[in-house]
Structures are given as structure tokens and as C-alpha cells.
């Protein structure tokens, strides 16, 4: 049997098909690993053990009967706990949803169920996906499997830690300002934020609706492509979702090295003006060197409004948060306190929100309030247009943009909690892709091994709207290069 740490969706599929092992064996091995590791790491909030075992038995039966299987049949996945799975709890790591049971499946879950993927459980996050370290969870922080004193990143920290600690083969996260890519980078994994609209948001607990996207956290770019292919596409229940060309979907699973050589890579000077820690800088240089060995063309470009992206984001996102979270009022979903008057009920139930959530609701209410709307919210929407324009101009000259994912490697638990602004800076390189709606991926610079006293570094590739193909193909060629 394969070691869990070497297991990818791709080789799991091949192993099943060639009857090297059974789905049930692998699922049980993951459950055993969860029982051993989760106590230390706190990646999972709930397990879906019974269902997972039943599903695995069904897959094994199907294979024994000689039926065809696809890539995701039986693949044991971890799902971020802000994505709804019918009849399972969905807390968004908030006390306010502690007793909520989802009454329907998110579209991404529906699609994965059609492929017979297995859900091992729901993973920890910063409350309502607000944070960069998973320390804002009402159910305790998640630890980085590479160093238990450090954060796994966030907000999809539980999903990233679950995959990095061999508690799932791959995971789903959500990314509003970097919440897939930054934890992937800090945990030595691949994280893809698709184009805004490529994946349906139906059944994702909304944080900032104009920025949120669901995407995969995986060990390889190839696995990220497999999950992206499975979950993307237009959905009647999400009016912002779009159809994706089917040929293009097939291409991402069969990268063509000759196509890759024709790509021009842009190096935006605004992303390399300092502020990176030494490990990250060294890692990025190594990644660049590797990419140059592929014979790609490089070009320096400018994205002049980059420095304003953080301010722009911290106006637009809380504005949307303040309106999206108004629904958690104790009336619907979950009720912790029953009071005599409506106002008392609102106040009492909303007191269950955590500190960061309250901060963002108040900040969002401020930027939208009369007298400040033009100065802050409207101004930020205009700056957002300029940031999008920067990318459009850059993509006239280059196909892919190379950038850091996170300015630092995984930081210590508690290091940034007292200063929200320093925590917000963790997302400085990932936010622009969300504001512009373009796809972006974080890829580990090299293979990282636990207990080697070294922490992972990722690099980021961004490309044009709906051209995930560029970064998924290039990423697959890159990982083949470093694996050989």
C-alpha cells in the first residue's frame, strides 16, 4: 500500500483502478491518521466517518463489479466548514452557527457527489473566513503541521493543515483575499483561486460576495486541475457564475509543454520592492531560476496601483461583510438565546460574534454610512476599477504574472493577533487577484519535508480571466521539473 503522504488524487485513482488497494483501506487509514493527528493540529471540526465508510464500500463494490470509475471516485476530501453539506453541521467556525445543520448541498458538493468523492469531514477556519491565520476560529486555532507553534495560514487553515498532515487527500477552501493561496503556501501545498464566476458560490456562506471563490487545496497542480475541472461551470443558482469552455477543461489535464514555451511571464516590479522575509526571498529566487530553465520568456511589467489594493480591499470587503452577516440575527439558522423582544434577541445572539467579525461589521457599516460613502466605499470601487485596468494592460504584454504568495513563511501563533493591520498585510500579494477577479495559484517552490527544520514557501502565478489553463499547465510542468 502507498504511504498516505505520497497519495495524490491521481495515483489514488490509478491504485484503485489497478486494484492495488481498496477505497475502504485508504479511507480507514485516513480516519486513523485523523484520530492520531487532529488532537494536536485541530484541522477538523466534525467528522463524517459513517458516511465516508459507507461510500468507500460502495466504490469498492462498483470496482469489483467491473464498472468504470473517474478520477474522483472514492477520493477522501476535507471540506472547509463554510461550505454546506446536507445534514451535516456548518458553523463557519462561529458560535452563532454552532447548532446549525445544513439543509441542502452547495453546488460544488453536489458536483463532487456526482463523481462519488468522499467527504471525511469539515475543517476549521477563521470565523466566517475572516483572517489569515485560523486563530479567529471560535473553536480554537489550527496548528501548522510543519511546526506546531506556528499558524497554518488562513482562513482555510484547517483544510490546508488536513492535507499537509495526511488527514485528507485534498481539500476545498474559499478565497476572498488569499484564504486558499496563503494557507497553501504556508503548508507546502498547491492552492487555486479560480476566476470570479468560474465556480458556483451557491451553498458557500457568503463573506464578501463580489470577491469570494471556492477552490482546491491539493498536493499537486495536477490534482488542483482535476478538482477544478469537476467543480467549475455555470450554475442557475449563482447568477455570477459563467460557462467554461469544455475543450479547455480537457486541456488542463493534459498539459502541452510546447504551449508552455510560448508563454511570456511578467515580473511586476511593485511586488518585489522589499518587505519579504529572507526565506521567502530565497524561495522565490529558486522558483524563478527553475522557471527560467524551462526556456520561458520573462518581462518586467508595472502594476502601478498595487500599493492601494490593501486599502481598497479593506473598504470593499467589510462593506459586503456588514450586509452579508446581517442575516445571522438569531431569528433564522441558529438561535442561542430566546428573548422577549426582537431587539434584545438580536443583541444577545450577535454578541456571539468574535472580535474580528465585530470589527469588520462595524468597519463596513462605517464605510457605507451616510457622509462617508463617497469618501470610502465609492472611492474604493473606483480604485478597484484602476487595479483591474492595470492587469488588463499587463496582460496585453504577458500571459502569466509571477509574484510572491505571502510576504513571510508561517508565523508564530499569537504573533500578529494584537495588531489587525499587521495581520491584514499577510494578504498584500493575494488581494489584487480577488479585486480584479482573475485566477491565481500558489505552488510550493520545491518539495518540503516535515522534521527538516525548514518551512514551506510558495510562489504565485496569476493570469487572464477564465485562462486557468495557463497557470495549471505551467504549474504541472514546473512540478514535474522539480520532482525529477
Amino acid at each position: 500500500m502507498l504511504e498516505l503522504q505520497n497519495l495524490t488524487i491521481k495515483n489514488f485513482y490509478e491504485g484503485l483502478k489497478n486494484k492495488k488497494f481498496k477505497a475502504l483501506e485508504i479511507v480507514q487509514a485516513f480516519l486513523k491518521s485523523i484520530k492520531k493527528e487532529n488532537e494536536k493540529i485541530n484541522a477538523y471540526l466534525f467528522l463524517n466517518e459513517e458516511n465516508a465508510i459507507k461510500q468507500a464500500e460502495n466504490i469498492d463494490l462498483k470496482i469489483a463489479q467491473g464498472k468504470e470509475i473517474n478520477f474522483l471516485n472514492g477520493a477522501p476530501l476535507a471540506i472547509k466548514d463554510n461550505i454546506l453539506i446536507k445534514d451535516l453541521p456548518c458553523t463557519a467556525s462561529s458560535k452563532i452557527l454552532e447548532n446549525y445543520i445544513a439543509s441542502y448541498d452547495a453546488t460544488v458538493i453536489q458536483k463532487l457527489k456526482e463523481k462519488n468523492a468522499i467527504f471525511l469531514g469539515k475543517t476549521n477556519l477563521d470565523e466566517f473566513a475572516m483572517g489569515s491565520s485560523t486563530e479567529n476560529s471560535a473553536f480554537g486555532p489550527t496548528k501548522n503541521p510543519y511546526d506546531l507553534e506556528r499558524v497554518p495560514g488562513g482562513s482555510s487553515g484547517g483544510s490546508a493543515a488536513a492535507v499537509a498532515a495526511n488527514m485528507a487527500i485534498a481539500a476545498l477552501g474559499s478565497d476572498t483575499g488569499g484564504s486558499i493561496r496563503q494557507p497553501a503556501s504556508l503548508c507546502g501545498l498547491v492552492g487555486l483561486k479560480p476566476t470570479y464566476g468560474a465556480v458556483s458560490r451557491f451553498g458557500l456562506i457568503a463573506m464578501a460576495s463580489s470577491l469570494d471563490q471556492i477552490g482546491p487545496i491539493t498536493k499537486t497542480v495536477e490534482d488542483a486541475a482535476i478538482i477544478f475541472e469537476a467543480i467549475s461551470g455555470k450554475d442557475d443558482f449563482d447568477a455570477t457564475s459563467s460557462e467554461i469552455n469544455l475543450n479547455f477543461k480537457k486541456d488542463i489535464l493534459n498539459p502541452n509543454i510546447e504551449n508552455i514555451k510560448n508563454l511570456t511571464i511578467g515580473l511586476p516590479k511593485e511586488y518585489f520592492i522589499g518587505g519579504l522575509d529572507k526565506e521567502t526571498e530565497n524561495g522565490l529566487n529558486l522558483a524563478l531560476e527553475n522557471l527560467k530553465n524551462l526556456g520561458l520568456k520573462f518581462k518586467e511589467i508595472s502594476l502601478p496601483h498595487t500599493k492601494y489594493a490593501l486599502s481598497c480591499y479593506y473598504i470593499i470587503m467589510p462593506a459586503e461583510v456588514s450586509s452579508n452577516l446581517a442575516r445571522f440575527d438569531g431569528i433564522r439558522y441558529s438561535r442561542a438565546y430566546n428573548e422577549k423582544s426582537l431587539l434584545e434577541m438580536y443583541l444577545k445572539n450577535k454578541s456571539l460574534f468574535g472580535e474580528e467579525t465585530k470589527r469588520r461589521i462595524i468597519l463596513g457599516t462605517f464605510v457605507l454610512s451616510s457622509g462617508y460613502y463617497d469618501a470610502y466605499y465609492k472611492k474604493a470601487q473606483q480604485v478597484r476599477a484602476l487595479i483591474l485596468e492595470d492587469f488588463k494592460k499587463a496582460f496585453e504584454e504577458v500571459d502569466v504574472i509571477f509574484a510572491p504568495t505571502s510576504p513571510t513563511i508561517a508565523f508564530k501563533i499569537g504573533e500578529k493577533t494584537s495588531d489587525p493591520l499587521s495581520m491584514y498585510l499577510s494578504d498584500v500579494f493575494t488581494i489584487p487577484a480577488n479585486l480584479a477577479g482573475i485566477p491565481a495559484i500558489s505552488i510550493p517552490v520545491k518539495n518540503y519535508y516535515k522534521n527538516k527544520n525548514e518551512l514551506p514557501v510558495g510562489f504565485q502565478l496569476m493570469t487572464k480571466h477564465f485562462q486557468e489553463k495557463n497557470i495549471l499547465e505551467l504549474g504541472q510542468v514546473y512540478e514535474k521539473l522539480i520532482n525529477n
Binding site: 439543509s103 456588514s322 431569528i331 431587539l343 470589527r359 462605517f366
Partner: protein
């Protein structure tokens, strides 16, 4: 701009969030710092820029209002208090 304690109180009231004295003080300090950071946006001339409000250019997306929507009625199963299929709340008046 300078943000005052009264502003925080007002915003909390609008958001239906009850803050403790200590939370108010923390928020005042944090918000002052964050909003001060926003002032850098004044450097950019946006007088001719049209604001955008989303990541998509999709316009007027319609679908059939299908009565066979598979999700119809399912939300009420998750009501915290269910009375004959209706959501139970305290009296409003």
C-alpha cells in the same frame, strides 16, 4: 478624519451589536489606525473613473422561475423554532 467614541456607539447600534466598554475602546483604537491607512487613497485622482462593484461583467442573468426547484421548502427544516412549518419569533408589536 477622526473617529470618536460616539461614532462607534452609533455604528454598533446600526449593526445591532452590543459592545462592552472595553470592546469600544479597542475598536476605537483599531479603527482609527485602519481608517488612517485608507487616507492613502486620496493620492489617486479618480474623478474620471467609473466605479465597479463586482468581479463579473455578467448583466441581467435570468432563469426560468421553475416551481420544481429542488430546494423549495427545505430551509424551514433548519428553523431554530418551527411552528406548523412557520418560523417562530417573539412578537414584534
Amino acid at each position: 478624519m477622526e473617529i470618536k467614541k460616539e461614532t462607534i456607539k452609533h455604528l454598533a447600534e446600526l449593526s445591532r451589536i452590543k459592545l462592552t466598554e472595553k470592546e469600544e475602546e479597542h475598536l476605537l483604537k483599531d479603527l482609527a489606525k485602519i481608517i488612517n491607512h485608507f487616507n492613502e487613497l486620496e493620492e489617486i485622482n479618480t474623478s474620471k473613473v467609473l466605479p465597479i462593484n463586482g468581479g463579473t461583467n455578467n448583466l441581467n442573468i435570468f432563469r426560468e422561475d421553475n416551481p420544481e426547484n429542488p430546494y423549495q421548502g427545505q430551509g424551514k427544516e433548519s428553523f431554530p423554532e418551527n411552528k406548523e412549518g412557520f418560523l417562530n419569533i417573539p412578537s414584534v408589536f
